[in-house]
Symmetry: C2
Subunit: 363 residues, 2 copies
């Protein structure tokens, strides 16, 4: 086994999403990852803070869409300007990760690259960093590594990974072949997955050598690979901007999961249990955060009479509640949400209705 | 029976209350009666609008505390400035009505005076005006008239009037002697009251000739009567302000109900059914106002998914709700309330807690 070389470790942070599931806090022009949610730092800042102990700031690259680039730069003064990459438009994670890979390759063709999302929550960051180091070590052996989250409930909102044979054991950390990538299951199937002990949530957190990644792109996405090569050749030249715009307009939508990971024979997974969440709803946030004596999660000023197990999110105003249980109350400058915790997913309907009604200022 | 003379009809509107039951909309410095609640007009304006068809604006007097006088004046441009009377401090309704009576007496010693509250809601104002005319007619005969509200539920939050013998019948409107004034009952007693058909809610809406009123003050509250006479003598002179301040500081707290009405032998009641409410809580408001197709009462912008029978009060912000039933949501610039309708009375606890915590800006 080769000696660990963290000096060639790089990270790409995907920060282009425009989620609506945390409406009214997150908006079209103010997505979750660029907002403070759990701490005073934004989720993007938390993501960077979390990995700074294992790699230098100039090894961190962020890919985001053009309209968020200025915000991302302002939030990350320690990351060099040129490491904030503007994706002209979203075409799925395969082109996006490819574009990030080109920039990292320009710095270090032998790089091992971590691919992370800017809007994930990790309760135990030290454990997570240990896993990332292990993942980098496995990646150096020529694998495409995906982190598999130990499921603690039969979640129907995530894709699953079914493990295959044990490839190796790094101390307490097993490494498995991936037998199958599985679509979001129905509830019965999810229950079966969790009971099996062989299934993990697909986190979308990856590690690979760039050389391995390009081989797989060339094999399974030859057209995209060729397009990326065209961009790569002019990176840093006067032609970069026009070439990127021209080529990007022709790129086909594809995810890294479907386009590469499900096809490749070199995929392994490291099961992890680090308190991971993609913070997919206000209900998730209520589950994640430690509550007060009444099990309420409170951000801002709250005065509760007989109020328990509720999320009170109000940075600007006093919220007074009487007789609430398992309720989510989220206040912002111009809009407010009240709903039972178990219906927090239906926020999407609110946003859809606002879009249809052309109430753009609230979307 | 003397012919009806509406030219000697005057109204005194009591507008000094500082209710907290409609917090966070109503505050110490922004009481219910000076706020728009049900329409775009404030409750004080509604109260004046309601009686303008039966008497000229310069027959309307308003008594309020010094700090609210400017607001009251601004809201009632049709009422002469000098008709807005400043009460130095609250000592109960007996001194307050006495002070108003002095001002009306100065205009017309033979006045028939209506005494109204600035924060009552009346669903059927035309019916109410008919009753006021009848009440004025009965008052001219030398009675102290109190309006008795036909109870539609065993309310424990109001005092009750038990009727005695029938005194007269004005068309469809009976006039009864008052047998007893009864304190706020417990629930069993309230049920019995409603079942009896002989009990009415004590509305605190009165009519009397000033000459009758002074006779009863002299008989049952001689000390207060003497103090009022002292003030009355200097009304409109240079000494008014200092005399008022000096005398008022010595006045004993007394309500008109306990101090006069319960003692007098000249009290009659006109039972009425005009959709009256003192709007004692947000729940009352929800019951009073016509709801939309989902039985929601909405002031402001609301987007509801599966939301029914709820009060959404938000003049400034969009409120989105999912899965609410019988819930009250009240938003203001700096504070927000969420509570089940059946616990709306507990708003008082919120205000008490804020006071104890010295959060004066929210009180």
């Amino acid at each position: 086994m080769p000696r660990r070389k963290t000096d060639s470790l790089y990270a790409l942070i995907l920060a282009g999403g425009t989620g609506t599931r945390l409406w009214p806090h997150s908006r079209r022009n103010r997505p979750k990852q660029l907002l403070p949610l759990i701490s005073k730092r934004t989720m993007l800042q938390e993501t960077v803070d979390r990995i700074l102990p294992i790699l230098p700031a100039d090894h961190i690259f962020v890919v985001t869409n053009a309209s968020f680039a200025a915000m991302a730069r302002a939030q990350l003064p320690m990351v060099p300007r040129q490491n904030i990459i503007r994706e002209p438009e979203g075409h799925g994670t395969a082109p996006c990760i490819g574009l990030g890979g080109l920039h990292i390759q320009k710095r270090d063709p032998d790089a091992v690259m971590l691919s992370l999302h800017a809007d994930h929550f990790i309760a135990r960051p030290a454990d997570f960093r240990r896993v990332l180091r292990d993942a980098a070590r496995v990646a150096r052996e020529g694998y495409l590594v995906t982190l598999g989250i130990q499921p603690n409930q039969p979640e129907t909102g995530y894709g699953y990974i079914q493990r295959g044979e044990l490839v190796e054991q790094l101390g307490a950390q097993p490494v498995y072949r991936v037998a199958h990538f599985l679509e979001k299951p129905d509830e019965a199937t999810a229950l079966r997955f969790v009971a099996s002990g062989e299934h993990y949530w697909n986190s979308g957190i990856f590690a690979w050598k760039l050389t391995t990644l390009w081989e797989e792109y060339a094999r399974y996405q030859p057209k995209l690979f060729e397009q990326l090569q065209t961009i790569g050749k002019v990176l840093g030249t006067r032609r970069e901007k026009t070439t990127l715009a021209r080529v990007w307009g022709k790129i086909k939508n594809e995810t890294i999961d479907v386009g590469i990971m499900e096809k490749s024979a070199r995929v392994v997974t490291l099961p992890i249990d680090v308190g991971w969440s993609d913070v997919g709803s206000w209900a998730t946030l209520l589950d994640l955060l430690p509550g007060d004596h009444a099990r309420n999660v409170v951000v801002g000023a709250h005065l509760g009479v007989d109020t328990t197990s509720s999320l009170i999110y109000s940075p600007h105003r006093l919220i007074a509640t009487i007789g609430l249980k398992d309720v989510v109350v989220v206040d912002t400058e111009d809009a407010l949400l009240v709903c039972p915790k178990d219906r927090a997913q239906e926020v999407k309907q609110i946003v859809e209705t606002l879009k249809r009604a052309r109430k753009q200022k609230y979307v």
